[in-house]
Symmetry: C2
Subunit: 258 residues, 2 copies
């Protein structure tokens, strides 16, 4: 961190009007110079989608006091790309923060998460990045119990750096009667969503579906993000974007006839 | 593989009318019983997006001789979920194949790829899966030089299995004067896209952007997918979906004051 105020780029996936991003901006203003580029509409579960078959809009908005802010018609990953290459015009942020998401992005949800795609996109661009998510899907979620943790983790990231090519996936327990117990650095639990489809009929007699489902966690490890959250700890999973199953390379070379 | 014909589920991201999926279906019909669930419109670069804030449509289509086929309004990952939980009603496919994509999904493009999100979604569900992509973005791409390779890789996957939780990312070189030299099992190259934004003005005086860019590969390793493709080999990268940067856990625990 330079002696000057760090430049912090803020994005999210719930859209620029959400309480979560407003909360995050307020915390970041205490730490650095804040620039916001966030979607103009909710982009939850957009995964690492980018906009290549359509145009992108980017408009300045006057929503946050003393903060340069833009709303973008694209995905969270688009926001990072547009911020870096257009809004910041050559300045590289010291840190990208994304969120605070209204809802969990722990375990397998990291793959579907727009919040984390913004952070991972930043990591691909070589910028330290953190995605923050609260395990409370409510639009009116209470973020009051986590502000100090968001600030502490952000300051530690600026002080110590984040390993190159890594973005942190930080999840916070929903507000409970007891205060949060602490912070644990974890691995992604090997859990998944088990979908169910709710089939309905529209007023014109055609069928349609709503995707619903429940979370299945058969991973009983003590070192997972799910375990930490269950026990009222903040979970931090360092994430990278090399999907190679390295051990499988030798296996396939040995067993397959290619 | 059972003695009965294997059940093969086919998806893609270019949409159900693309030449790539038609080519893939014809090859799979020689191997097994084929069921198709594919997007009703192009879904390129959708990453691992899923549809949770909107409804999903699923309609039977009569496009492929002797093949049960459905078009879906959702993303490639949605197609797999709807296929498994609704279309196949309890039957589990022996294999999911996705593609053949019109365009490369090698290296970092795996993150943005709808083709690979279908394959990875299947892997999450415990189903062996392969995404096939041709390094030719043309709508009228020539797939004639790769059919035998698609068939060979599919048969090897059915014979030997694919490691649990792994999906194969298979990329084919664009047709060249020389025939393809062979197949290499690789790691994902540490390359990335360097975006540029083409700013224009609409007829109403408002600005908008097209995302463009070029591919930057500073990874000079001999064992990458990019290297294989450059040298006219088919690349196979086994992919998994645990994003944890495991080595960083100890590092953060040691260096950070949490």
């Amino acid at each position: 961190m330079n002696s000057a105020k760090p430049l912090i780029l803020v994005a999210n996936d719930d859209g620029i009007t959400s309480i979560g991003i407003r909360t995050l901006i307020e915390i970041m203003k205490e730490i650095g110079e804040v620039v916001v580029v966030a979607p103009d509409s909710p982009q939850s579960a957009m995964g690492h989608a980018i906009t290549i078959a359509n145009t992108l809009r980017l408009d300045a908005v006057d929503l946050f006091k003393d903060v340069l802010a833009f709303e973008c018609s694209g995905t969270p990953a688009d926001c990072i790309k547009l911020a870096k290459h257009h809004v910041l015009k050559g300045r590289t942020p010291d840190l990208v923060v994304s969120g605070i998401n209204h809802g969990s992005n722990s375990s397998i949800s990291v793959l579907y998460s727009g919040t984390m795609s913004a952070a991972i996109e930043a990591a691909i661009e070589g910028i330290p990045a953190i995605g923050f998510s609260l395990c409370d899907y409510s639009h009116a979620a209470d973020f009051s119990h986590i502000s100090n943790f968001v600030k502490k983790i952000t300051l530690e990231a600026l002080k110590n750096g984040i390993p190159k090519g890594v973005a942190l996936n930080v999840n916070f327990p929903k507000k409970q009667a007891e205060p949060i117990k602490g912070i644990k650095v974890c691995r992604q639990a090997a859990a998944r969503w088990q979908e169910k489809f709710d089939e309905r009929q529209d007023p014109f007699g055609r069928n349609y579906f709503w995707m619903t489902g429940f979370f299945v966690n058969d991973d009983k490890g003590d070192d997972t993000d799910e375990k930490a959250l269950e026990n009222n700890y903040v979970s931090i999973v360092p994430c990278q974007y090399d999907l190679t199953a390295h051990h499988s390379i030798a296996l396939i070379n040995k067993e397959w006839d290619l």
